[in-house]
């Protein structure tokens, strides 16, 4: 019991220390092939294990298909194909579907693996220009959390919005 209380206070003080360092934003990091990406966790409604997905003949190759999440139809997009990281489609037990809301419509983003949530301070985020001056607008920065991981931080809403438009 005592240990628990100690742990708690310790946790809280760690949190306080973190606050002193600056505002932190939570990012969910995931893998697409060998590369690590992350998006702000506020935009993710749910992380789903693979459910049966029905392919839609004649649809855009970046679309995996449709699935039903508690009665709602969700269009699943293969992020790897969206970013031209792969031309074939793979899915295994580690695959996850990130459920996001795009203009009121639920969209599932298929990723290879979800590993953890990083709380990044402003100081831990490099501007996208470090990768070169011409970066796509959905890359908002490079995250460098303690521990040596390097994450490509994405803001997908403009990208997905434009997908819906055409």
């Amino acid at each position: 019991m005592k240990a628990l209380v100690e742990q708690k206070t310790e946790g809280r003080s760690a949190l306080q220390r973190a606050d002193e360092l600056g505002k932190r934003v939570e990012y969910l990091a995931f893998m697409l092939g060998p590369e690590a990406y992350a998006i702000a966790i506020g935009g993710i409604a749910e992380i789903l294990k693979p459910l049966p997905i029905t392919e839609v003949p004649r649809s855009d190759p970046k679309i995996v298909g449709v699935m039903s999440v508690r009665g709602r139809l969700v269009t699943v997009i293969d992020l790897k194909r969206r970013f031209n990281l792969a031309s074939t489609f793979t899915m295994d037990q580690k695959s996850r579907i990130l459920l996001v809301d795009v203009g009121g419509e639920p969209i599932g983003l298929l990723v290879d693996e979800v590993f953890q949530v990083f709380r990044l301070t402003d100081a831990e985020i490099e501007p996208p220009t470090v990768l070169g001056s011409e970066q796509p607008p959905y890359v908002v920065g490079i995250g460098r959390p303690p521990g040596g991981a390097v994450l490509m931080l994405l803001d997908l809403s403009p990208l997905l919005q434009s997908d819906l438009m055409d």
């Binding site: 409604a45 749910e46 294990k49 693979p50 459910l51 049966p52 997905i53 029905t54 392919e55 839609v56 003949p57 004649r58 649809s59 855009d60 190759p61 679309i63 995996v64 298909g65 449709v66 699935m67 039903s68 999440v69 508690r70 009665g71 709602r72 139809l73 969700v74 269009t75 997009i77 031309s87 074939t88 489609f89 793979t90 899915m91 295994d92 037990q93 459920l99 809301d101 203009g103 009121g104 419509e105 639920p106 969209i107 997908d163 819906l164």
Partner: protein, 780 residues
């Protein structure tokens, strides 16, 4: 997240809700206003006039004024105020109901619609138009003139004349001016049964004439009875009236003209207050019913904010038999019980946002999945655990669940259904407007307005139908002189027919105009590059007619200002197609054109045939399936590379669904079993199929046989729209959950049939099959 969105605005504040209610109520009133005006226009066109209809219109405007005042819709309330003045003048005969006046009234209905749209933020406020209308209304009001003093020529008791309301006086004057005889009845009524006896008498009188007023005479009565003097205007001779109304306590005499005219002008006290002093008797007269008072309106406001429907103003004023010409949509109001003053809502209706019904329907869909799971468990219990008693109980439970679920589903579907009359009424207004713009006389004949169809479909129908009617008047109906010249009646006819046929609703728009000239169509299509000149000579009559649905098609040489609005028949076809329907056209030069729309009755729940092709499951709506037969490969013939077979003596074009969807040879994709650690690609079916089937789909008169691998069974499904990203994929109407969390795509038979048949003449159609979709073999 999923739950939050289905609820349909639970999070809205009470104010928003009240506003929503205001909009829908105002819209309802405007709609019924429009109906009444049309009826009035009709009566007026035949040279008559209907006092009761004018009253209905007056009441509607009055209610709108009250409502808009409550919600601070200043423009609407200003317009209503001026209109009310005009209508009051009309009602009291101060001005004549002429075509220009009617035009103003129709214009105001249109403006009401636009003001409502503007208030919702859908459109800019029509400020300048409202201003123009207001000044036009003002001008009309100034033109009021008085009627002659014909009343004075009759032997009427000045005391009686003195207590007539201005309205009653107007009716009296109008009747006398048109030379209708006036009769005075003295009737003894027992006090106990006066209400019903008076109703009886009124009903008996109505076929013969109009009751102007009735007043207690103050004589001849005793403690148990009362004597009323009733003034009746009628064209019938005295004997007929006596014969029809004779009774023990009834005395009837004709009111004769005086030899010497005596002015009763000085004795007139034209004050509507007198109606009030007569108490319930005057109220029962049904000639003048006071417009809803402020109490009524504030009562409305309360019910609006509590979310229970306030009675729409029109039906809440049951108007007696003269309202027979009104639309079919008015809910039946209590006719007799409504006489006592009550604060209770007259109509028992609740207005519901259709999204809430969609939400309920989704829940029913979920329950249907639960139901099939229960059935499966019952079966397992019986087979694997040998618990036959338990299994039987479960089965019984399942059956009862099934039955109730079916009832619930039907109930919700029923609620969604509305009569097509809702959209037809709007069209009647359009016909009137367009025919006046074109200076053509057109008679719209509507049948089947009571045919019911899903509310969502009705909403989406108005634009396409309006366009078709515009076309019919603009291009179809000839001018008066031309019609006379070819021996047609000078007034053109547009027939709007609706009827149900199985699971489909058919709507026909038929005109008796000049028809579509194939030569003109082909020439125009060639000129606009829609058809190569070489092909133009071989084109069939049916194909020629279908050219009018091509994007970019127009017949410039005939078109007027109306046709250049950028909405072509291709948009009509696209819009109808989105509803799962098709448009067909047939025409004979010189005789007329008929457009036929075939629509599914509902979009919410449909019965489908579940089929399998190349390991994938698809659903085909049963409404578009004629039959499914075993496929015999030896029966297939090929014409120009297209497969057909003969079925019952007719040629049936075939389409192999696997080929059409480019699934052949591609391993089925990601049917991932959630229990499986690693998704296994489902087995590829052996090449030699034991047996295939042909599902014969038919929409309107087009038929195609789709070759599929397996028929799985019939199922009722809740169809859900595909997301925006998938909207442009052709051939699917939506998707549904089939149980086991699997999603099945629902095939849009109409669009696939068009596609297959189009490719008979046009090989380019292959281009729409996305070549990028040739999925790699390494999938899964």
């Amino acid at each position: 997240m999923a739950e939050n969105q289905g609820g349909g605005g639970r999070g809205e504040s009470a104010g928003d809700k009240a506003r929503e209610e205001f909009f829908s109520e105002a819209q309802e009133i405007v709609d019924s206003l429009s109906r009444d005006l049309l009826a009035l226009d009709d009566v007026c066109g035949r040279g008559g006039s209907d006092a009761e209809l004018v009253n209905d219109v007056f009441r509607a405007v009055h209610t709108l004024k009250g409502l808009s005042g409550l919600f601070g819709a200043a423009m609407m309330s200003g317009l209503s105020h001026e209109l009310e003045n005009l209508l009051d003048d009309l009602r009291l005969g101060r001005i004549e109901l002429t075509a220009p006046v009617l035009d103003l009234l129709f214009k105001s209905v249109e403006l009401y619609g636009r003001i409502l749209a503007a208030a919702k933020g859908d459109a800019p406020e029509p400020a300048s138009e409202v201003k123009a209308l207001l000044s036009a209304l003002g001008q009309v009001s100034q033109q009021r003139g008085g009627g002659g003093n014909v009343v004075a020529q009759y032997e009427l008791d000045p005391g009686l004349l003195g207590v007539l309301t201005e309205y009653e006086e107007h009716r009296l004057r109008t009747n006398l001016q048109s030379g209708i005889s006036l009769y005075r009845m003295r009737v003894q009524f027992p006090l106990l049964t006066i209400d019903s006896a008076l109703d009886d008498l009124k009903a008996k009188t109505r076929p013969h004439g109009e009751i102007i007023t009735f007043l207690p005479t103050g004589e001849g009565g005793d403690t148990e009875s009362v004597e009323l003097e009733i003034l009746v205007a009628s064209r019938a001779p005295l004997e007929t009236i006596r014969g029809a109304l004779a009774g023990p306590n009834i005395l009837i005499e004709e009111v004769r003209r005086r030899d010497v005219a005596v002015s009763v002008e000085s004795q007139r006290t034209p004050s509507p207050q007198h109606a009030g002093t007569l108490g319930p008797v005057a109220q029962g007269s049904s000639v003048e019913q006071p417009a809803p008072s402020m109490e009524d309106l504030s009562d409305d406001a309360q019910t609006v904010s509590t979310g229970v429907s306030a009675p729409p103003a029109i039906p809440s004023a049951p108007a007696g038999p003269t309202s027979a010409g009104k639309g079919t949509a008015a809910p039946p109001g209590p006719d007799k019980g409504g006489r006592e003053l009550t604060l209770r809502s007259v109509s028992q209706t609740v207005r519901v946002d259709i999204r809430k019904l969609d939400h309920l329907m989704n829940i029913v869909g979920e329950l249907a999945i639960v139901r099939s799971n229960v059935a499966r468990i019952a079966e397992r219990v019986r087979r694997e655990f040998g618990q036959s008693q338990l299994a039987t109980d479960l089965h019984r439970l399942h059956r009862s669940f099934d039955r109730h679920l079916g009832q619930m589903q039907n109930g919700i579907l029923e609620v969604r259904m509305v009569p097509l009359g809702q959209v037809f009424d709007k069209l009647a207004r359009i016909v009137r407007q367009i025919s006046r713009e074109h200076d053509k006389q057109v008679n719209l004949v509507v049948t089947g307005a009571e045919t019911e169809i899903d509310k969502l479909i009705v909403e989406e129908l108005s634009d396409p139908l309006m366009h078709m009617i515009r076309n019919a008047i603009d291009h179809g109906i000839e001018g008066r002189d031309e019609r006379m010249h070819v021996g047609k009646p000078p007034v053109g006819t547009i027939a709007l027919n609706a009827f149900q046929k199985g699971n489909q609703v058919i709507i026909e728009v038929e005109d008796d105009g000049r028809g579509i000239d194939p030569a003109v169509i082909v020439a125009s299509a060639v000129r606009h590059g829609l058809v190569p000149e070489a092909e133009a000579r071989e084109i069939t009559a049916k194909e020629i007619l279908n050219l009018i649905f091509e994007p970019g098609f127009t017949t410039r040489e005939e078109a007027t200002a109306l046709s250049g609005r950028g909405v072509g028949m291709d948009v009509v076809r696209t819009n109808i197609g989105r509803l799962g329907g098709v448009v067909d056209v047939s025409s004979e030069v010189g005789i007329g054109t008929k457009m036929t729309i075939t629509l599914p009755i509902t979009l919410a729940i449909i019965s489908v045939l579940v089929i399998e092709v190349c390991g994938r499951t698809f659903c085909i709506p049963l409404a578009s399936i004629e039959e499914a037969i075993a496929f015999d490969e030896t029966q297939v013939r090929t014409f120009e590379g297209r497969e057909v077979m003969t079925q019952r003596g007719a040629t049936l074009p075939l389409a192999r669904l696997g080929k059409l969807f480019e699934l052949e040879g591609v391993r089925p994709g990601v049917w991932i079993n959630e229990a499986a650690a690693t998704p296994k690609p489902p087995e590829v079916r052996p090449r030699q199929k034991e047996r295939s089937y042909v599902v014969i789909a038919a929409v309107a008169d087009r038929r195609v046989g789709f070759v599929v691998d397996r028929l799985i069974g019939q199922q009722d499904i809740v169809i859900k729209a595909l997301g925006k990203t998938l909207k442009k994929v052709r051939g699917f109407a939506g998707a549904t959950e089939l149980g086991d969390q699997r999603v099945g795509l629902v095939i849009d038979a109409a669009s696939l049939i068009s596609e297959v048949l189009a490719s008979t003449t046009d090989a380019r159609v292959v281009g729409i099959l996305n070549p990028a979709n040739a999925v790699e073999g390494g999938r899964a």
